[in-house]
Amino acid sequence: MEGKPTGPGDPLESSSAEAAPDASPATPVTYGVVEVERLKKDDGRALIVFTVPGGR
């Protein structure tokens, strides 16, 4: 896996903070039709919350 490129990225979101796996936690950002909020569980595991603005 040495030298693997950083991944294909997202052509629709190339400048988005979502392209970075370590984006700031708890700052919702829009990705397509969802908002993305990063949290941490008490034991340190990642929890990502996706919401649909304006509807469930």
């Binding site: 991944g7 990225g9 039709v33 969802v34 993305v36 569980k41 990642a46 996706f50």
Partner: protein, 305 residues
């Protein structure tokens, strides 16, 4: 941490994740770990009183950093929902969730293949009934996507595109179409009611799909799974396997996004077991002709729409 051992006779990796032996097994609904944490109720995996879609690291991972990933995708905070029962907007949102996870996991140095899947029903080994799927980030290319790359090489181009063209030209096994996807029972289906849903245009992964294609993908998937549920008038157990391009190794970026369904039922109350021929020789023996399965499924999809 799991241990990988290479099985020489099969030419494949086997993962030993012995910590998974103690994972939660078919809890009653009052102790479901995928339900929200409601005031006065038990603390679950999701410390929120309500949610739409969440993804979290599996507590009992088959793969984990620095040698892969295992995530859980919970579709709804409604314990009794299913992929088929989600609203159209929620199903569309799920496509973006999948895309998001593919994007991020594909960037990891320790992930060569991002595999999104759902096991539905105890018949295929579900241990939690709450509607959810999973994502494995394999630190190697697993055998099935490797076979798809080999098919590309054998046919001198995208095998999934070639299969799609053949199925659409034949027409007898086509189940459903919209402007972005075609669903069909493959000419040589292994499971009695196996179905594939393929992007009509060549798209290596979710990342190459236009937003409207993602919406239509969700519409097509819901039409198909609702048809499955209508086929025998019962929730259809299945394995749903999202196949797309590997994210590392020589086959990186080569693939064609399609979703395969393997329902294990051959009748409403009869399972197709992968037994002697299937397990020991690798040859499936099917009781149902794909053309007959397609006719029944087509009618079920119409009935469920």
């Amino acid at each position: 941490m799991s241990e990988l051992r290479f099985n020489e006779l099969r030419g494949e990796q086997v993962a030993y994740a012995i910590h998974r032996q103690t994972r939660t097994f078919l809890p009653d609904r009052d102790h479901c770990p995928l339900c929200p944490t409601r005031p006065g109720g038990p603390v679950t995996e999701i410390p929120l009183p309500a949610f739409e879609i969440v993804v979290f690291d599996n507590r009992f991972p088959a793969f984990e950093s620095p040698a892969g990933a295992a995530e859980v995708v919970v579709y709804s905070d409604d314990h009794d929902a299913s992929f088929a029962s989600l609203t159209a907007s929620r199903a569309e949102a799920l496509m973006w969730v999948w895309r998001h996870r593919y994007m991020e996991l594909s960037a990891r140095q320790d992930v060569e293949y991002v595999y999104i899947f759902e096991n539905r029903g105890v018949e295929v080994g579900v241990t939690l009934h709450h509607p959810h799927g999973q994502i494995y980030g394999y630190p190697f290319l697993p055998p099935v996507p490797a076979l798809e790359l080999a098919a590309d090489a054998r046919l001198g181009g995208c095998a999934a595109c070639a299969m799609l063209e053949l199925e659409r030209a034949d027409g007898r096994r086509v189940l459903y179409e919209n402007d972005a996807v075609t669903a069909y029972v493959p000419h040589a289906a292994r499971w009695p009611y196996e179905a594939h849903l393929s992007m009509r245009h060549h798209r290596a992964s979710l990342l190459e799909c236009e937003p409207e294609e993602l919406r239509l993908l969700s519409v097509g998937l819901q039409a198909l799974v609702r048809g499955f549920d209508a086929l025998f008038d019962r929730p259809m157990p299945y394995v749903m396997a999202v196949h797309q391009a590997p994210t590392g190794g020589p086959g990186a970026q080569q693939g064609h996004l399609h979703i395969e369904f393997y329902p294990p039922l051959r009748e409403a109350d009869k399972l197709k077991y992968p037994a002697g021929s299937e397990q020991g020789a690798g040859t499936f023996i099917s009781d149902v002709l794909p053309e007959d399965a397609a006719a029944a499924l087509r009618e079920a999809i119409v009935r469920a729409s």
